[in-house]
């Protein structure tokens, strides 16, 4: 086994068909879609197809917007800063409600807004690691919040928040609702019309599209927001020449992710469960979060007595890519925010390792991973001073 990639929550391989679909837009059809000549206009039909696929895949109505941007980080920044700026313009205070387990693109943007004078409420999670409507109601009074932003599925644990109920509750409280759906697309059926959210963000590279392109869904009637001012692209809502190849790639990737939902929730889930069952079979191992509450591809596991970065090092030596939220692996020596919010105890935060599968993961890869993990656990526990 040469290499096994089990870090699909970080990024995914571009689907070969997606790459093929993008190819013509580099050497042949390289025009600017806003030009009047044929180099520009000849791209329009394929761009329309891409939009159709994105609207279809997300369940958006034609009256809604899906603004093509560079990444979910841009989308998240646009929503939070956009609504704040609109309030600022009216000379009104801004109250953002988010959670303690958000991705840095929400968490750090919220910190920045707070430093600019905004009020920020960060909701804790329950004992299952979830943000619930009850928690939202408990912390936010009616009419006080301007925007509630809660992630759909958590990147570290795969835990799925009840966003439909959260959205309803936020609306009942008189607030707009945004969800960061980066880890949900391709794993959970997505329908913004049923969900009822005002804003939703996603990123192509998490569902086998290219890096550097994402989408921001804006419900019709929701306050318009924009971060980048300039040309007339995206109806003037997001200036900057559209990355044509990436937009077309993302459109196809979205269609394929929707088609692969069944496979993801059957075959990928089976492989994940097979790996998870094998991990549970190793003594003194804890799996974080109930299986039924998680995206079908994710496992966050703690091996007692083994520090996360050391585990990752041994995995990498054996050609397996995974991830850890351990403080020792980060540039700033801080444990991952999700692990801290889940109040797991410091030892779990130092030992947690994440495996995330994709539709390209094979049975052979999982079998090899299981055998390798057993060997690594034996070696590192024999080194460990805290494991008996």
């Amino acid at each position: 086994m040469e290499r096994v990639y089990l870090d699909n929550n970080a990024t995914t391989m571009v689907d070969p068909r997606v790459k093929q679909a993008m190819d013509p837009y580099y050497l042949q059809q390289y025009g600017n879609p806003n030009s009047l000549h044929s180099f520009g206009t000849e791209i329009h039909p394929e761009m329309s197809v891409a939009l159709d696929r994105l609207y279809e895949g997300t369940g958006a109505a034609d009256e809604d917007d899906i603004i093509i941007n560079a990444c979910a980080t841009e989308g998240n920044n646009t929503v939070l800063k956009g609504i704040w700026a609109a309030k600022l313009k009216e000379n009104r205070p801004f109250h953002l409600v988010t959670s303690e387990i958000e991705h840095p693109s929400i968490a750090h943007t919220a910190d920045w807004l707070e430093s600019m004078g905004a009020r920020v409420t960060r909701l804790p999670v329950d004992e299952q690691g979830l943000v619930t409507p009850e928690i939202l109601k408990e912390h936010v009074s009616r009419g006080s919040a301007d925007l509630v932003s809660i992630m759909w599925a958590n990147n570290e644990t795969g835990l799925i928040n009840p966003v439909q109920e959260l959205c309803r509750t936020a609306h009942d409280l008189g607030s707009l609702f945004h969800t960061d759906a980066v880890q949900a697309v391709g794993k959970i059926p997505l329908n913004v019309s049923e969900l009822g959210c005002d804003y939703l963000t996603f990123s192509a590279h998490k569902f086998h599209g290219p890096k550097g392109v994402g989408g921001l869904y804006v419900r019709r009637g929701a306050p318009p927001i924009s971060l980048l001012h300039g040309g007339e692209q995206m109806g003037g809502k997001r200036a900057g020449t559209v990355n044509v190849a990436y937009m077309i790639g993302m459109g196809l990737a979205m269609e394929m992710a929707t088609e692969a939902l069944d496979y993801e929730n059957t075959k990928v889930r089976e492989l994940r469960d097979r790996l998870e069952d094998a991990l549970i079979g190793i003594p003194d191992t804890v799996i974080l979060g109930r299986r039924e509450n998680r995206t079908p591809n994710t496992i966050l596991v703690s091996f007692k007595g083994i520090e996360g970065e050391a585990f990752l090092w041994d995995l990498n030596t054996n050609g397996i890519a995974a991830s850890t939220g351990s403080a020792c692996s980060s540039e700033d020596l801080e444990a991952d925010a999700t692990l801290r919010a889940m109040k797991l105890g410091a030892d779990l935060a130092h030992t947690a390792v994440r495996f995330s599968l994709s539709r390209f993961t094979t049975e052979e890869e999982i079998d090899y991973t299981i055998e390798t993990i057993k060997k690594i656990v034996r070696r590192l526990r024999s080194i460990s001073s805290t494991y008996k």
Binding site: I306, E309, A310, S326, C328, E331, L333, E334, A346, S385
Partner: protein, 319 residues
């Protein structure tokens, strides 16, 4: 920020070949048993440092020869990241052949240097220097156990930055000698605060006894005070501006540091120069507010310093 910082995720790229090699194949791994030690005519010493909840824990085994007093075998076990494993392994190796007194002199910096491939290139990135400190701490713990003494009795000086092993005395001295005004300058001169950054200010990776921000402020205040002390004229003849500055400086240099040690502090509310002499109004903060001694003992302490250093007619009022 510069070109080198833009890509990120370079943690592992910065490990030396020796670090990687010792992570994969530690040479001095495992326990030493009583029987093994006895067979070598050696005394077994086992010491632990750290805890799983801190992210690093290491256990050191020494077999100390009963005749020569030399460490004839050293090995370790570790719960820690790869660099902690590599540092522990090198630390054990450096102990072998030394007496306990010699081994105590091994520092984390020796361990890190021994792990370098190239003498000029660090073996680990700055934030990982922290892991090698563990290796140093456990030697101290083993030596204390061997000698049957308290761990703190082996500390010769107050260390502010564990990663770079910079003492309080050194930091105060460079601030004075080079007239340093910022924490960044302290780091540039001494390397203190360049690694895990815990010692710069409260709120970092670890809580510390001393922080560079406080040391800088207190040392600067003491320097200022000494400059003012060279002022020939008595306090009463100074301009109001210089009077206020002298009082503020004295508080920073002599009064606040002792109050802060007990979790308290004091603010100057007003300074009035009356016919009967200067009157200062102060308000307590933190632990001083509820401290029963603050109305008597602490007040007397503050008054005495003001009288001794500035004007013997000084009166202090708490507001």
């Amino acid at each position: 920020m510069a070109k080198g910082d833009l890509i990120g995720g370079t943690l592992w790229d910065q490990y030396s070949g020796k670090v990687a090699d010792r992570m994969n194949n530690p040479r001095h791994l495992g326990a030493v048993s009583e029987e093994e030690a006895a067979a070598m005519n050696a005394e077994l010493v086992v010491a632990d440092y750290g805890a799983e909840s801190c992210g690093d824990a290491v256990r050191l085994y020494w077999a100390v020869d009963r005749d020569s007093g030399k460490i004839v075998k050293a090995s370790f076990k570790s719960f820690g990241c790869g660099t902690a494993i590599a540092s522990s392994d090198m630390m054990a190796e450096l102990c072998i052949g030394k007496t306990v007194d010699e081994a105590v002199k091994i520092t984390n910096i020796d361990v890190e240097h021994a792990l370098r491939d190239n003498p000029d290139i660090p073996a680990v990135p700055p934030q990982k220097m922290h892991c090698s400190v563990m290796a140093y701490d456990v030697i101290k713990a083993a030596a204390a156990k061997f000698k049957g003494v308290d761990l703190s009795s082996l500390e010769e000086e107050e260390i502010v930055c564990e990663c770079a092993r910079v003492s309080l005395g050194t930091i105060q001295e460079v601030i004075r000698l080079n007239d340093l005004k910022t924490v960044e300058e302290i780091t540039a001169y001494t390397k203190a605060g360049a690694f895990c950054k815990s010692c710069i200010r409260p709120g970092g990776h670890e809580s510390r006894k001393y922080y560079l921000v406080d040391i800088l402020k207190e040392t600067r205040a003491k320097m200022e005070e000494e400059t003012l002390a060279r002022e020939e004229r008595p306090f009463a003849d100074l301009s109001p501006f210089k009077q206020a500055r002298a009082v503020e400086t004295l508080f920073d240099a002599e009064i606040r540091p002792s109050l802060k040690q007990d979790g308290g502090n004091v603010q100057i509310v007003d300074l009035d120069i009356t016919e009967e002499g200067p009157v200062i109004e102060i308000s307590y903060e933190g632990a001083c507010i509820s401290c029963p001694a603050s109305g008597v003992g602490t007040l007397g302490f503050i008054e005495k310093i003001l009288k001794d250093k500035l004007d013997e007619r000084f009166q202090v009022r708490i507001v």
